[in-house]
């Protein structure tokens, strides 16, 4: 046995674990594969799991090893990811990947699509991902950063890669939050071939970090023949990040939104994060202003008390009033509250519709000036009304 080969494990099992599995692998010099399986779903999928495990080991070039699997009802794409992680940790893997069957990807995501809500999904917790799309957020975020323990970064990366390939999130935009650079660059190599729609870059402080990510994505897109946009959303989480908001927003044309991470931002300021958020008012308004200047969306942080729907509603309504177009969520129950808060009111929609029909009327008559009753309507007002009506339509409100 060579020195870099060692026993290794990956994944989780136990009474309270769902939809995951634990894989333990002991490299051997001869004797082929000895495969052991205990599974909560043994009578139904035991044979299927054994067949899949053999196939994955063969793909990864594992010839001799003892492999013990303790399965808690994991789906096939999770099984593949956990075995691959264990094999890599054991130093047994060749250069192949054990990729699950790829489902049809959703339509490419538009640069200015609705981004009212984005649901965070921890990158190492398979049980939250499979039904996340059903709850109807505008986006899901597969998180490789703060929700993942440093020792599990490799496992999360492989699982997120497989999730992007195998799980349908319906009409949701598929986002991935990579790690802070330089670790985030390793994340890109694994996930960009699966074409997420948006990459969130944490703790950005200067535009160079954004261009570094953008360049690497461009390179990987060419190498893996990906012909759909992969947008960027820098997260500003420090005083320095907020001060550089404008150049960061304009760093590349692939930036679609700026967002703020309030936990880290308030920690950087040395202030206490409060429910009213007065301490971050300046940073948040400055971010909105910089985003508007660059023509990108401003997206707010998350509201972390999942039991307080009234507090969430107030926060989200205040955020919309500041100019934010959406925020993050950490529980599906927050989604409808956020969507309602970021929806334009009936009166706003009605007024915009009147302006739009006046505009259409003027165009038909070949008149340059749009007027409503005795009032002349300025072109930016018309533009805003057109945008609001389009938004309202996509939310099913007009």
């Amino acid at each position: 046995m060579t020195a870099d080969r060692k026993s290794a494990e990956a994944g989780h099992s136990g009474k309270d674990v769902r939809s995951d599995l634990h894989v333990a692998i002991e490299p051997r010099d001869s004797g082929g594969i000895e495969l052991g399986l205990e599974s909560r779903v043994g009578p139904y999928y035991g044979e299927a799991i054994l067949t899949q495990a053999r196939h994955v080991l063969e793909t990864l070039g594992v010839k001799n090893a003892k492999v013990s699997i303790h399965d808690e009802g994991a789906l096939p794409y999770v099984i593949a990811a956990r075995i691959e992680t264990a094999v890599r940790r054991a130093g047994l893997a060749n250069s192949h990947k054990a990729l699950p069957e790829k489902i049809a990807p959703p339509a490419p995501s538009a640069i200015d699509r609705l981004r009212r809500s984005r649901l965070y999904l921890p990158g190492t917790e398979p049980k939250y991902a499979i039904n996340a799309g059903l709850h109807g957020p505008d986006a899901i975020i597969l998180d490789l950063e703060d929700s993942v323990h440093p020792a599990e970064k490799d496992a999360a990366r492989t699982l997120v890669r497989n999730t992007l390939r195998a799980v349908s999130f319906g009409a949701c935009e598929r986002m991935v939050r990579i790690n802070q650079l330089p670790l985030g660059l390793e994340d890109l190599a694994e996930i960009i071939p699966e074409a997420p729609d948006v990459v969130l870059i944490p703790k950005v402080e200067h535009p160079g970090q954004v261009t570094q990510v953008d360049n690497m994505i461009a390179e990987l897109k060419v190498r893996h023949q990906i012909n759909r946009p992969i947008w960027l959303m820098p997260i500003l989480e420090s005083g320095q990040g907020i001060e550089s908001a404008a150049p960061i927003a304009a760093a590349t044309e692939n930036v679609v939104a700026l967002t703020i991470g309030l936990e880290d931002y308030t920690a950087d300021l040395g202030v206490v994060k409060t429910a009213e958020g007065r301490e971050s008012q300046y940073g948040r308004t400055r971010l909105v202003n910089a985003a508007r200047a660059a023509g990108v969306q401003a997206i707010d942080s998350v509201y972390s008390d999942v039991g307080d729907m009234e507090g969430l509603k107030q926060w989200a309504e205040a955020a919309r009033a500041l100019g934010f177009e959406g925020m993050g969520c950490i529980h599906p129950a927050q989604i409808p509250v956020i969507h309602a808060a970021f929806a334009p009111s009936a009166a706003e929609i009605e007024k915009a519709q009147r302006i739009v029909s006046a505009f259409e009327d003027a165009q038909q008559r070949g008149v340059a000036v749009v007027s409503l009753g005795s009032k002349m309507i300025d072109p930016p007002v018309v533009q805003r009304a057109l945008k609001l009506v389009a938004r309202a339509k996509s939310m099913g409100l007009a």
Partner: protein, 520 residues
């Protein structure tokens, strides 16, 4: 069991035994096809001259009471399960019988619970011959592994009343745990340190058994009011320190699930009732105490308030959530079969609009109608459902006994029977080609609600029409099944079941609907 079991195909094309525990059986004939004849059973006539004029029927202990009731080998002895997993009286009774050296008893509880697993030892010793009543946990495994000497018989709450009333099961001695009682034997479940609410499951036992013993840990001077059990049916009263563990009898406040998938199912169910026009003034519904059912009540409550709709009555298993409806004036009555939490117990004790019911009024099919068919909609669970809407509630899909039938079968007679289920659990699809154990015929099940969409039984064209144009995700059941099988990596293998029957599932009319086969 050494005898060879003859099997016949019933009207649901399931193989069922023609003899169970030495008694000939009628295979299921179809819904409403079996016509019962004859007269109801009755206990022996008694005379007041044989009972104390001062009404004091107390005896020092349960063993003495059992002896005076003439307990002997092979008798049928019964208990109710209102104290649920906290019950101490059933084991007290069985252990007293063991001490007396009695053998081969048929234990006939309205349901058994995991805390009564010591009954296994008493079966090994020959004290108990077999159990007829729901079995789960260790007792369920003992039965499905084929270790019980007789066959298990699973009945619905209504079916248990029917079996007693029709003489299929003759109870020799009923031992009734009573949270409050007087020395005459009047008993009530809604007061006392071991309060459990209704005592409805014990009513048939008290009416039809040859002998009735009331066991209480809260003896009050005559009269015990209200008397859910009438002392006129009672032979003896035994006072003990403790009939049960209050913490396991009722839960504190039942918590609504936080699972987003389950909440989604619950919301779909509530929206279905609203959009199909079932939720209207004067309507009625029943919901159990499962996670989805509780959450459903909360969603429906909000919709009823929004639309200004009030129910005439709701049926429980009562919990805080039904009690809230009553307090907020959203229903005129709660008709309560069993009481699950402290709010329910307090309410039934203090509010005349919260009424205890029995399986006779609620569920018994062999009677002049019952409440179940008058309920507009019921929300139930299941372990499996097939593409023809046949459902299983008693076994896990590997064939092991998992739940009793409870009121589940009886509730299927409501105007709209809804199953709220996750589309898969731990990778195991819930919608299958064929259910492991048929518990409810598909023609009785109208709607299956999953987190991936709502399937309406094609037999219910009226419901399909009623929700046309709504925003509900209505899909063919086959569609949901196909999607879930793709997610789960193909159809599951079918576990191998043995060919020896270990229990039967009765339909509400006493005919045999399906067989539980030996596993492992």
């Amino acid at each position: 069991m050494t005898e060879r079991v003859e099997l016949a195909h019933n009207a649901a094309q399931r193989r069922v035994p023609t003899m169970v525990n030495g008694k000939p059986q009628i295979p299921y004939l179809g819904v409403g096809k079996y016509q019962p004849r004859g007269r109801k059973q009755a206990p022996p006539v008694r005379s007041s001259k044989d009972y104390p004029e001062n009404g004091d029927k107390r005896l020092p202990d349960l063993e003495t009471a059992l002896r005076k009731c003439g307990l002997r080998d092979g008798m049928v002895i019964s208990n109710h399960h209102h104290l649920r997993d906290g019950d101490r009286v059933a084991l007290m009774m069985l252990e007293a019988a063991a001490k007396m050296g009695v053998k081969d008893l048929l234990w006939f509880p309205s349901a058994s619970f995991p805390s009564q697993k010591d009954a296994i030892g008493l079966m090994e010793k020959g004290v108990i011959h077999h159990i007829e009543g729901s079995m789960n946990g260790p007792l369920g495994d003992y039965c499905t592994q084929g270790k019980m000497r007789g066959m298990g018989v699973l009945r619905s709450h209504g079916g248990r009343w029917q079996a007693i009333q029709d003489g299929e099961v003759h109870i020799d001695i009923a031992v009734i745990a009573a949270p409050t009682a007087d020395a005459f034997g009047n008993a009530d479940g809604s007061h006392g340190k071991s309060a459990c609410g209704s005592l409805g499951f014990a009513l048939a036992d008290s009416t039809y058994a040859d002998h009735v013993i009331v066991v209480t840990d809260n003896l009050v001077p005559f009269p015990c009011v209200p008397w859910q059990i009438q002392g006129n049916n009672v032979d003896y009263v035994v006072e003990v320190d403790c009939i049960g563990d209050p913490a396991k009898i009722v839960s504190g406040t039942t918590q609504i699930t936080r699972s987003p998938d389950r909440l989604r199912i619950a919301e779909f169910v509530a929206r279905f009732l609203r959009d199909a026009g079932i939720m209207k003034n004067g309507f009625s519904f029943q919901a159990g105490a499962g996670g989805i059912a509780l959450a459903f009540v909360d969603y429906l409550r909000r919709m009823m308030k929004e639309d200004g709709v009030k129910a005439r009555f709701v049926r429980g298993g009562s919990t805080k959530y039904l009690v809230d409806l009553l307090r907020e004036g959203l229903t005129d009555y709660i008709l309560d079969g069993q009481t699950f939490d402290l709010d329910g117990v307090k309410s039934i004790a203090n509010d005349l609009r919260h009424v205890a019911t029995s399986p006779f009024t609620s569920y018994n099919y062999h009677s002049k109608g019952n409440f179940a068919s008058m309920v507009d909609a019921v929300v139930l669970g299941a372990t499996e459902v097939d593409v023809h809407f046949n459902a299983n509630v008693v076994t896990h899909s590997d064939g092991r006994l998992l739940h009793g039938i409870g009121g589940w079968q009886n509730c299927l007679f409501s105007g709209c029977s809804i199953l709220g289920l996750p589309s898969f659990r731990d990778r195991i699809p819930v919608i299958v080609d064929e259910v492991t154990t048929l518990t409810g015929p598909g023609e009785m099940i109208d709607v299956v609600v999953t987190e991936r969409g709502i399937a309406i039984n094609p037999l219910r064209k009226d419901l399909l029409d009623a929700v046309k144009g709504s925003k509900l995700p209505i899909r063919p059941i086959q569609d949901i099944k196909t999607e879930v099988e793709q997610i789960c990596g193909g159809r599951p293998a079918r576990p191998k079941l043995g060919d020896r029957p270990v229990a039967v599932v009765k339909w509400v009319d006493g005919t045999v609907l399906d067989t539980v086969w030996q596993v492992g």
